[in-house]
């Protein structure tokens, strides 16, 4: 597959894994993130270009920057996201504003920005939602709400923009390493997965697993797949007790 992809939140965790996987599959990749140092490092590693800025800033247009650098766009991987370790009573106004700005409004803004370019190329949009958007987690209440909204946004855009030849899908990762749990400051030490519940498949999801699903949904084998939120959670959401499993038998 030779295409042109933008990956927001591409400087760490799942986003970096997606950038690496797409590049390995032959895509030219624009790696977007807030840290210039990290974006340039990942971009250099994958032979792509760096796009630096905060997706929540309405003045920042990573789609336009990627299109300029790549000469067009075939896939917008809108992966950037934030989390707040807050239950419902603990979710403050600032938490909610940031969650909404990054996980929903930035995705909406960048999807709209990508629309004409993807309509021209017959491309696709891939959102990173979460298993918490499928089945909510009260310990991360605001995050769960915004990820459910992202999933509903994906479905609406899939139906609305399907006639334009644009596919829109979403990934719903479970606890992933490295991912939001291990790369967000104040959560766990990098690489530490102690205390994680073991999913039914007996192994914690790796970022490369999620990237593999991303490569499939972005690629030609998924040409007739749109409006799908694909769980990549090793079975965590398969049963109300599955996520309390004790590992392989």
């Amino acid at each position: 597959m030779s295409g042109r992809a933008l990956v927001t939140g591409g400087t760490s965790g799942i986003g970096a894994a997606i950038a690496r996987r797409l590049a390995a599959d032959g895509w030219r990749v624009a790696v977007a993130g807030r840290s210039a140092e990290r974006a340039e490092a990942i971009a250099a590693e994958v032979g792509g270009v760096a796009v630096v800025g905060d997706v929540a800033d309405p003045a920042h247009d990573p789609v336009a920057l990627a299109v300029d650098a790549l000469g067009g766009l075939d896939c917008a991987v809108l992966n950037a996201g934030v989390i707040a370790d807050r239950d419902l009573p603990g979710t403050g106004d600032d938490d909610w504003s940031r969650l909404l700005a990054v996980n929903v409004l930035a995705v909406h803004r960048q999807a709209r920005a990508a629309h004409p370019h993807l309509a021209a190329s017959g491309g696709s949009i891939l959102l990173t939602a979460s298993d918490a958007g499928v089945w909510g987690e009260p310990a991360i209440a605001g995050y769960s709400i915004t990820k459910r909204m992202a999933l509903q946004l994906m479905r609406c855009l899939a139906a609305e923009w399907g006639p334009d030849g644009i596919r829109v899908n979403a990934l719903c990762p479970g606890d992933t390493e490295p991912g939001m749990v291990t790369t967000t400051a104040g959560r766990r030490a990098p690489g530490a997965t102690d205390g994680w519940l073991t999913p039914p498949l007996g192994a914690i999801v790796q970022a490369a697993d999620v990237a593999g699903a991303a490569a499939f949904l972005a690629g030609p084998d998924a040409a007739r797949i749109t409006g799908v939120g694909l769980l990549v959670d090793a079975g965590m959401r398969a049963s109300s007790t599955g996520w309390q499993g004790e590992g392989p038998r």
Partner: protein, 166 residues
């Protein structure tokens, strides 16, 4: 404590305010039925943000306050039917409605709160919506549920929808 009704103004909200509480226990009813604004992909992001600010954000604040007080409070959230199965022609309300539905689901798992959703199509009468809210508030074991009031419209894919592309 009696019933508190907040949210978007309209006939459903008025019907719920007029209804006498069936229980003496505290009740919070949140109505999130904004006027339709069309497909979400055609909507400016600022307009989507304004829709969230008018519906979901005050709902979250109200539930946060109720949870902080420790409850017990029974909650019903009224939202568009598109909160469950999205309607892309009414996509913006479907997105915000989905947020309201998830808000109810996490509230249902929050100590002190019991919360349910009434997802109503626009052509359902305010009285019928109010009756469903009364039911949701009165059932002790109903928590984290969604009652769809759409006459079965979304129970299965409509034949005319399948035929559109033929």
């Amino acid at each position: 404590m009696s019933r508190t009704v907040i949210g978007t103004e309209g006939p459903v909200t008025r019907a719920l305010r007029d209804a006498a509480p069936a229980e003496a226990s505290p009740e919070l009813v949140i109505v999130g039925l904004p006027e339709p604004v069309g497909p979400v992909g055609a909507l400016a992001t600022d307009a989507l943000a304004a829709l969230v600010d008018a519906t979901l954000t005050p709902a979250l604040a109200a539930l946060r306050a109720a949870a902080a007080e420790g409850g017990p409070v029974r909650v019903a959230i009224v939202c568009p039917a598109g909160a469950v199965l999205p309607d892309h022609r009414d996509g913006a309300r479907s997105v915000v409605g989905a947020g309201l539905a998830m808000l109810a689901e996490v509230a249902a798992a929050t100590p002190g709160l019991a919360a349910n959703v009434v997802a109503a199509a626009d052509d359902v009468s305010p009285a019928e919506v109010a009756a469903a809210v009364e039911f949701a508030l009165a059932q002790p074991s109903l928590n984290g549920a969604t009652i769809r009031l759409d006459g079965g419209r979304d129970a299965a894919l409509a034949a005319e929808t399948r035929a559109e592309g033929d």
